[in-house]
Each structure stands twice: as structure tokens, then as C-alpha cells.
């Protein structure tokens, strides 16, 4: 009964709250007003039901906190069990790998293209994960590094006819350089200030790209970028797509491999420690600037590589691809996946990219759901889809037998 009353209140409150924006639509030029009362009904109904869910979740969260049992949380038990069970994980990995390898032969070029995009976001997510998830530096301008890579290739290709493989390391290097140049002055800032400065930096990069016509060809962007060639053989569009697809598989594999190794290394531990407690970390002899800069530069490097591939895939880029929303989306991938978790971030990238693609009804609400999910995850599951704790536990077991 108490719950019913509360939900009724929530229902009335949200009907009131959303009334002008959702119900009324005006046309000031024609001086007409359109009333959409049905919408109010839906809002009321939705608020009524969701408030039950909201209270239930809050209660569960409060309970989970009082009983601090580390293995007592039954959320996504499958994924947790998976990472705790190497043979099972390995066989599933094998199935995924085989599926990924034959994908372009089973599906159309269109589908392959979507998968390439999804993999670009996996790489971006994992790259940002180094900075945000592992070393705990909240960066809101990650798209700027992505743009640095994409524009490096686009402009080098346009002006000097440089090929994809030459541009890949150059693009990565350019992005890393941007990371270091930005990193040196800003990394001593506190977390939330760092976030805002990087946001400002990202916007400046985009605005410069948009306005400096002589350099970046302005808002219309660069077109006619070459697709990568295979041993100087020109490929057809389909062929090139398949080629880029395999290239992306390689890049994703490389990224996962590298991050996996870094995570459990001396540098990786320093990153984690910096994330957990900066003062203690520095007091234990870790050079704060150097450690942050490596994370920053490395994260930027991956964005740069993803950018080069993106430019090669679309053959056309403009500043509109590198807005704040892009950065926010990559951040959402990291947050939803679970900071520091490779599996989680990859899953989140696939979910975020593929769901709106295959559920068309969903795509209109995509950004709305994004925002909502970011809030809800922060409130109810700040560790993301897959928490990375268990993985490190597993790693320790093998360690101990060495020691």
C-alpha cells in the first residue's frame, strides 16, 4: 500500500513534470498549438511502473551494501563464472573467433561494414579504458585523438598520396603526440577539472578543424581517401571492406593482447594504484606525471589507429564525426562495460553499436537510452557489466605457484 501511494505520487509528479514538453507542441510561425494528451497517459503509466522498479533496485543496492560479501552478488553470474573458468572461456573464445573469421563470407558487405564500425568502437573503448578505466583519468575529449588519427591519414593521403600502412603508425604517432602535448600541462589537475579541460580541448580541436579551411578543408571535410591496398593491388569496394574487416580483427586482437599484458605489469599496477589513491601511490615511489603520461599517450595512440582505419573505411571524414557526443559515447562504452575490464568494454561496444543497428525501433531512442543507462549504471552498478576484480584474482593464483 505504501508502495502504491509512492508510485502514484511519482506518476502524478512525472505527468506534471513532462506536461509542457511532452504534451504541447506549438508552431509560433503558424500560431497553432497541438495537444498530445495520449503522451501524458504513457508517461504516467511508465512512471508508475518504473517507480516500483526504482525502489526495488534501491532496496537491493542497500542490502548488497550491508552484507559485504564479495561473492554474494548474483548479478551477471554467467560472465563472472566465465572469467573464472578458463577452459570454458577458451572454448567460447574459439567459437567467437571462428564466427568472426567467417563473418564476411556469410553476410553482406553492409553487415560487414557494421561489424567494422563495431570493432572500431571496441578499439576506441579499450583505448579510452587505459586512460579512464585503468589509470582513472576522466577524459571527455577522446574524440580529438580519434580525429588526429583520421585527419593524419586523410590529409597525408590527400596531399602526398601516402598509403594506409605508412599512415597507420604516423596517425598513431600524431595522436600520441597530441596526448603528450595536452597531457603535460593538464595532468596535474584534479579529476573533474581534468575532465572539463579535456572536453574543452576536444571542442577546440573540432572547431579548428571546422574553421581552418586551408588546413582541414573546413566543415565539408576530406573526401576521396584511398582504401588500403593489398600489396599494391587495387581492391574492389567489397574486397576492400573484407580486407579492412580482417585488419580490424587483427587490430582488436592486438589491442586486447597488449592491454591484457599491460594490465598485469609493473606499469599497469602503477596505473591502478594511481586510480585508487593518488597520494599513497606517489608516496610509494611512483612518478605521477610519468605514469599518467604513459597512460594518456597510449590511450591516444589507440584512438589514432582507430581514426586511421575509420578514414580508410569511410573514405570521407569531416569534423562532425568528432563531436563531444562521440567522446561521450566512447566513455559510455567504458562505463557500461566496466572500468578496466576488457571483456566488459568489448561487450558494451558491441551492444551499443549493434543494438540500434538491428533494432530499428531502438535507434530513435538510442541517445536517450544511452544517457539513462549511464545514470542508472552509476547509481546501481558502478562497476559496469563485468567487474574486473575476479580476473586479477585468477592471475594471482598462477602467480602464487611461481612464488
Amino acid at each position: 500500500m505504501e508502495g502504491f501511494k509512492k508510485s502514484l505520487l511519482a506518476c502524478i509528479w512525472f505527468m506534471f513534470l513532462t506536461f509542457p514538453l511532452v504534451v504541447i507542441r506549438v508552431d509560433t510561425a503558424e500560431k497553432t498549438v497541438q495537444w498530445r494528451w495520449m503522451h501524458m497517459l504513457w508517461v504516467g503509466l511508465g512512471a508508475f511502473l518504473l517507480s516500483y522498479v526504482w525502489r526495488f533496485m534501491l532496496k537491493r543496492k542497500a542490502m548488497g551494501r550491508s552484507a559485504t560479501n564479495p561473492d554474494g552478488t548474483p548479478v551477471v553470474p554467467f560472465l563472472q563464472r566465465l572469467s573464472a573458468n578458463p577452459p570454458l572461456a577458451r572454448s567460447i573464445m574459439a567459437v567467437i573467433a571462428i564466427g568472426a573469421l567467417v563473418f564476411p563470407w556469410l553476410f553482406s558487405t553492409y553487415q560487414t561494414n557494421i561489424m567494422i564500425s563495431a570493432m572500431i568502437y571496441i578499439v576506441l573503448g579499450l583505448g579510452l579504458n587505459i586512460v579512464v578505466g585503468l589509470s582513472g583519468q576522466l577524459v571527455l575529449g577522446y574524440a580529438a585523438f580519434y580525429a588526429a588519427g583520421a585527419y593524419s591519414y586523410a590529409l597525408l593521403n590527400h596531399h602526398f598520396g601516402l598509403g594506409f600502412w605508412t599512415a597507420l603508425p604516423l596517425g598513431a604517432g600524431a595522436a600520441a603526440l597530441c596526448g603528450i602535448i595536452l597531457g603535460i600541462p593538464v595532468l596535474r589537475l584534479r579529476g573533474d577539472y581534468l575532465a572539463i579541460v579535456t572536453l574543452g580541448f576536444g571542442e577546440i580541436v573540432r572547431l579548428v578543424l571546422e574553421n581552418w579551411n586551408e588546413f582541414s578543408m573546413g566543415p565539408s571535410g576530406v573526401s576521396g581517401i584511398s582504401r588500403p591496398g593489398l600489396f599494391s593491388v587495387e581492391l574492389s569496394v567489397d574486397g576492400a571492406t573484407t580486407y579492412i574487416y580482417y585488419l580490424m580483427i587483427g587490430l582488436v586482437a592486438l589491442t586486447i593482447f597488449v592491454i591484457n599484458r599491460l594490465k598485469n605489469s609493473r606499469i599497469g599496477r602503477a596505473w591502478l594504484a594511481l586510480r585508487e589513491d593518488e597520494i599513497a601511490c606517489v608516496a610509494m615511489g611512483v612518478d605521477r606525471m610519468k605514469t599518467k603520461l604513459t597512460a594518456f599517450a597510449l590511450g591516444a595512440t589507440w584512438a589514432g589507429m582507430a581514426g586511421v582505419v575509420f578514414a580508410a573505411k569511410t573514405t570521407f571524414i569531416n569534423p562532425a564525426s568528432f563531436t563531444f557526443m562521440e567522446s561521450a559515447m566512447i566513455l559510455a562504452i567504458v562505463v557500461l562495460g566496466g572500468m578496466g575490464s576488457i571483456l566488459g568494454v568489448s561487450l558494451a561496444a558491441l551492444l551499443i553499436l549493434l543494438l540500434p543497428e538491428y533494432l530499428r525501433a531502438f535507434s530513435e531512442y538510442r541517445m536517450l537510452l544511452f544517457g539513462a543507462t549511464m545514470v542508472l549504471f552509476m547509481v546501481f552498478r558502478p562497476q559496469g557489466l563485468v567487474s574486473s576484480e575476479r580476473q586479477r584474482y585468477e592471475f594471482k593464483e598462477t602467480k602464487e605457484s611461481q612464488g
Binding site: R261, A273, E276, R392
Partner: protein, 266 residues
């Protein structure tokens, strides 16, 4: 005593926060192999003193000199905390500052950071040098965990350890940085009497077996009296007494600082 070298010498140390003078003209010295206690009522400036020595604060005035057992002297003023640690001084924190979502072993392994070298490339390629270093780090960290009695908790998350164990883990982590001078900020706070006795023994063992000099802040007077060679007393940011535990315990000024005016008259 005279044969022993001074490992840490603090001269005329003062620290201002805005208009507030947290420390004024504090002198402090620690000899090789000594256990020195820094005591004083709450707010006397003990932790501020630690923070100045370890480079977390930049002192307003005064000199801090560190001399390694090999005889190399360095002025610490203006150095960053990590540089101080690299020179051979490590600390623990009053309000425990572990890395909560890292495992116990990893917490200690982090301490070896400034004594190891492998970089990004090594981590990615995992060449022989990196692997060997990693094995050395794991073994050393494990030994240190044995020393502080946490070798059964290697894989637990640091945040899941009980309070007393977290304090011991902080000590192990500090030892992993290979210091010759160890600063302990209230290591016995929140411990029960049995734990405190075990801690006393641990501190003595660290001094004897690892050839360490130790400076500790402590409120547990029983512990201070039983393990320290010398005691410095701070009150309102000033040093009011110095000497052996017995001397300090008999000093009327110290009694006044701790128990108030009437206690001296009585």
C-alpha cells in the same frame, strides 16, 4: 651512540597554512638503527611533520636532510614524495591508504615500483628480463607478506582485510620500496592489546632483521615506552621535550601537555 650516523636530520622546520602555523622551529634527528617516537596531543602537528619530511607538503622554513647508510646526504626540501621514497624513506598513513580494489600481493608489489625498471615494451613483449624481474618482485613481496603475517591473504582484496591486517599491509608495502628509514603514522591505532603487542614485536624485528631506522607517531603510550629508544614530544607545533622514554615520562611539561595543569600540581 656516537659511532652511529644520523640518518635523518630536521632543522628549524616550520610549516604555515595560510595564517595558521602548524609547525614552528622543530628539530628532529634519528640515528642509524634507532626507533624514535614522535608523540604529542591531537593536533600537535605530528602528521604535518611527517608530510613535510616525506615531500607531501613543501615546508615553509627549515631543512630536512637524509643520509643513507652509505653516507650520501641529500636535502629533501622541495622534492616530490616519489623522489623521497626513491632515496630510501618510506611511510605508512594514519588513515589507511591502501589500494582497495587491488589484491594484497599487488599492493606490496606496487611498492617495488621505484626499484624496478621494466617499461611498456617489456610489459607487452614479456621478454626474459621482464619475466625475471616479475618473479623477483613476486617473491620479494611474498616474503614481506610472510614477515607481517599476511601470507594467507595474498589474493584477497586489500579492502576485505580486517583493520589491523590493513595496517600491517601498509607496513609491508612501505618495506617493499627498500627503505633504510621507515616512518609509521599511528601503526597501532584501532588495534586491540594483543595486536598491539604483535605489532611491537614486528617493529622490533624490522629494525633488527632489516637493519632499519624507524620514526613513529603513536598514541599508545605503552607501546611508545616499550619500544622506542628516544622520544620527541610536540605540542602546538613546537617541540617541548626530547629524550629517553623515562626522561620524557618524567618531564613536567610533557605531563602538563597530556594531562593538563592540575596533574602537575598534584
Amino acid at each position: 651512540m656516537s659511532a652511529k650516523t644520523i640518518v635523518l636530520e630536521v632543522k628549524n622546520l616550520s610549516m604555515n597554512f595560510g595564517g595558521l602555523r602548524a609547525l614552528s622551529d622543530v628539530d628532529l634527528d634519528i640515528l642509524q638503527g634507532e626507533i624514535v617516537a614522535l608523540i604529542g596531543p591531537n593536533g600537535a602537528g605530528k602528521t604535518t611533520c611527517f608530510n613535510c619530511i616525506t615531500g607531501i607538503y613543501d615546508p615553509t622554513e627549515g631543512d630536512i636532510l637524509l643520509r643513507s647508510p652509505q653516507g650520501k646526504g641529500v636535502r629533501l626540501n622541495g622534492l616530490k614524495p616519489n623522489q623521497v621514497t626513491e632515496l630510501g624513506m618510506a611511510r605508512t598513513f594514519q588513515n589507511i591508504r591502501l589500494f582497495p580494489s587491488m589484491t594484497v600481493l599487488e599492493n606490496v608489489m606496487l611498492g617495488t615500483h621505484c626499484r624496478t625498471k621494466s617499461g611498456i615494451l617489456g610489459a607487452i613483449l614479456r621478454d626474459r628480463k621482464t619475466r625475471e624481474e616479475e618473479v623477483r618482485v613476486v617473491n620479494k613481496s611474498y616474503e614481506l607478506l610472510k614477515l607481517v603475517g599476511l601470507d594467507h591473504h595474498v589474493n584477497d582484496l586489500a579492502s576485505n582485510l580486517p583493520y589491523g591486517a590493513q595496517r600491517r599491509l601498509e607496513i609491508a608495502r612501505a618495506l617493499a620500496t627498500d627503505p633504510f628509514l621507515l616512518l609509521l603514522d599511528e601503526p597501532a591505532a584501532g588495534m586491540n592489546p594483543n595486536e598491539t603487542i604483535a605489532l611491537e614485536q614486528l617493529v622490533m624485528r624490522i629494525r633488527d632483521e632489516l637493519d632499519m631506522s624507524i620514526l613513529l607517531i603513536e598514541h599508545d603510550m605503552k607501546m611508545v615506552m616499550s619500544i622506542s629508544d628516544r622520544v620527541h614530544v610536540l605540542e602546538y607545533g613546537q617541540k617541548i621535550a626530547e629524550g629517553t622514554p623515562a626522561e620524557v615520562g618524567a618531564n613536567p611539561q610533557v605531563i602538563k601537555a597530556y594531562l593538563g595543569e592540575e596533574a602537575v600540581d598534584a
